[in-house]
């Protein structure tokens, strides 16, 4: 293990702890008694007290935090108040929809972004570059839920190619499932793809100005040869960081897009939990999403070490 990876792993753990504390506190310090919030103002005091006991709210905050942490670590999530089932069961089912959706949109956006970004950079300041950049500028400016509405309007309402929402379920076959995820994925991927394309372009352009690229040209490599052999890999280093951050945005984006397409994923779960004041569910799903994001960023760091020899693991 190199020091670099060890440090990163340590950061990963610390960030996770910090995130859990932040989640816990932001749901805790808020004014009002959670039990009262859950039951509403009209509920009798006795019911509120009973719920407080059930939720363990009578115990000190610090204790409850560590309890919660311990439960998370052993995989025993809380019990949903509204559904009266373990949160784990709720999540297990829904993550199988949200995660594929996030991955699908990530794939879409990365594919399109890399192609467009590299193309634009190679045609720097020419018509191809300008039009790709104009398009991506537009892509960034469109709210993803509006794009989702437009897609529904066009492909579902006007053309009738896709259903306007819902998820058929994996048991109906892979193709059918992907089909019901494709419109949501496109609406998520467009914005992120546009951002990534711009970023890729500028990373490639930046790298093309490096001295070692001039060296490569002085060796007799053609412009194109230089691009493939010396520019792309170096330019990917900053691009990968952005990809990591984008994954977080995609996950968050699922919340709203799932709502538009009425897809029963984690996003909808969390929205419903919020409107039901089901704090246990909110807390557990939020920390799950945060953990995913932190984990992805850790993976990005590890990828760094693979790509960049300056960070290559050294022997202990």
């Amino acid at each position: 293990m190199s020091i670099f990876l060890l440090k990163r792993f340590f950061t990963f753990i610390v960030t996770l702890l910090g995130a859990s504390l932040l989640t816990f506190l932001s749901l805790e310090i808020l004014p009002g008694d959670p039990a009262r919030v859950i039951l509403g103002i009209d509920a009798p005091q006795s019911a509120v007290d009973a719920l407080r006991l059930q939720l363990g709210l009578d115990r000190p905050m610090v204790d409850r935090y560590f309890d919660w942490l311990a439960h998370l670590l052993t995989g025993r999530f809380g019990v949903s108040y509204t559904y009266n089932v373990p949160v784990m069961d709720l999540i297990k089912h829904r993550i199988g929809i949200t995660f594929p959706l996030a991955i699908l949109s990530m794939l879409l956006s990365v594919l399109v972004a890399l192609i467009l970004g590299i193309y634009a950079a190679s045609r720097h300041n020419k018509i191809g570059d300008v039009s790709v950049m104009g398009l991506s500028q537009l892509g960034i400016s469109i709210p993803n839920f509006w794009l989702a509405l437009l897609l529904i309007l066009f492909f579902a309402v006007n053309l009738g190619w896709f259903s306007s929402g819902g998820f058929v379920g994996w048991d109906k076959g892979f193709i059918k499932s992907i089909q019901s995820l494709i419109l949501p994925a496109i609406s998520l991927a467009t914005v992120q793809g546009a951002i990534l394309a711009r970023f890729t372009r500028s990373a490639v352009l930046e790298t093309m100005r490096e001295d070692y690229v001039r060296t490569a040209r002085a060796k007799g490599l053609t412009r194109r040869g230089t691009l493939w052999k010396h520019v792309l890999r170096n330019a990917m280093i900053p691009v990968i960081t952005i990809m990591g951050l984008q994954f977080a945005n995609l996950l968050a984006g699922t919340i709203i897009v799932e709502e538009v397409f009425a897809i029963p994923g984690l996003g909808r779960l969390i929205l419903q939990a919020i409107s039901n004041r089901d704090i246990t569910v909110v807390r557990d799903v939020v920390i799950l999403l945060a953990a995913l994001v932190v984990f992805i960023n850790f993976v990005v760091d590890v990828l760094y070490a693979v790509i960049d020899p300056r960070l290559k693991p050294q022997d202990v």
């Binding site: 749901l27 004014p31 960034i140 709210p143 309402v157 977080a248 945005n249 969390i270 929205l271 409107s275």
Partner: protein, 283 residues
């Protein structure tokens, strides 16, 4: 004020395409919001059920919605909401974020480490997720949405400021100032802040655009501006159930959002080009 450097800057600015286009779009947005304070073609709040879902006409430029309100008027009035969200949240972000970032880069050592770690924690949450969470717990409404969005732009400004300030701290004129005996606080105010201001302004425009998007999303989910305050996000959410009946309802507010965001983004990009001396020299 009008020294050679500034004139040079203005000269380049009027030749810069995206700066001019983005600037005019942004001005349009501000103009729209300003006018709507005093006048809109129709009352954007008052309902008139007799003329529900009427198609575009000279009387109602973009038609009317399910309550018979003039869509054009509602959109005009909705710009106020977007602008105030942008202003408030960006101000929160700048005031706290920039101070925190400056503190980190002035103090270094464990203070910097701690602040940057805290920012990392915030980054672990997708901003919109936490905004949703926060708004859901402290309650819905415009003000809460603004605050929530503002809070999540704090780490963005903090990081940016720290990075830019650290670069300035490494300059020799800071060393010169220190060897002249100037204290850290005065150096920060007199040398560091003025030199990173342009970077912050560029980020502020971008962040303004992001705030408009985020608020629209919150309102779309019913967590932002509450009726009857006109809001583009909520208009879209209301249009959702009318999508078979009156699909145009779902189009106009989106265009309004896109134009505002596009304008601000273009403006930000243009500004970035204009203040980046590296690009200025190279062209």
């Amino acid at each position: 004020m009008f020294n050679k450097k500034n004139i040079e800057f203005l000269k380049r600015a009027i030749k810069h395409r995206s700066f001019i286009v983005g600037g005019s779009m942004t001005l349009l947005l501000i103009f729209c919001a300003f006018i709507s304070l005093f006048w809109t073609p129709w009352d954007p709040i008052k309902q008139n059920l007799l003329i529900r879902h009427s198609p575009p006409s000279w009387e109602h430029l973009l038609g009317t919605d399910q309550f018979g309100r003039d869509i054009f008027s509602v959109i005009m009035a909705g710009s106020q909401n977007s602008i105030s969200v942008g202003l408030v949240s960006v101000s929160i972000g700048i005031i706290f974020g920039v101070s925190i970032g400056l503190l980190a880069s002035t103090k270094r050592g464990w203070v910097e480490e701690l602040i940057m770690r805290l920012c990392d924690f915030m980054y672990a949450f997708p901003a919109i997720l936490l905004a949703i969470m926060l708004v859901a717990t402290i309650g819905q409404g415009s003000i809460n949405a603004m605050v929530a969005i503002g809070i999540f732009s704090i780490p963005v400004f903090a990081r940016l400021t720290r990075g830019a300030a650290n670069a300035i701290w490494a300059r020799e004129y800071i060393l010169a100032s220190r060897s002249a005996g100037k204290g850290l606080f005065r150096i920060t105010i007199e040398h560091v802040l003025p030199n990173i201001l342009s970077v912050i302004i560029v980020q502020a425009t971008i962040q303004f655009a992001l705030a408009i998007l985020a608020e629209a999303a919150l309102s779309f989910l019913g967590l932002g501006a509450q009726p009857p305050t006109p809001s583009w996000g909520r208009m879209l959410s209301e249009a959702r159930s009318m999508i078979y009946l009156n699909p145009w309802l779902a189009v106009y507010p989106g265009i309004a959002i896109a134009i505002s965001v596009l304008g601000l983004n273009l403006l930000g990009d243009g500004l970035r080009d204009l203040v980046d001396p590296r690009l200025a020299r190279k062209r």
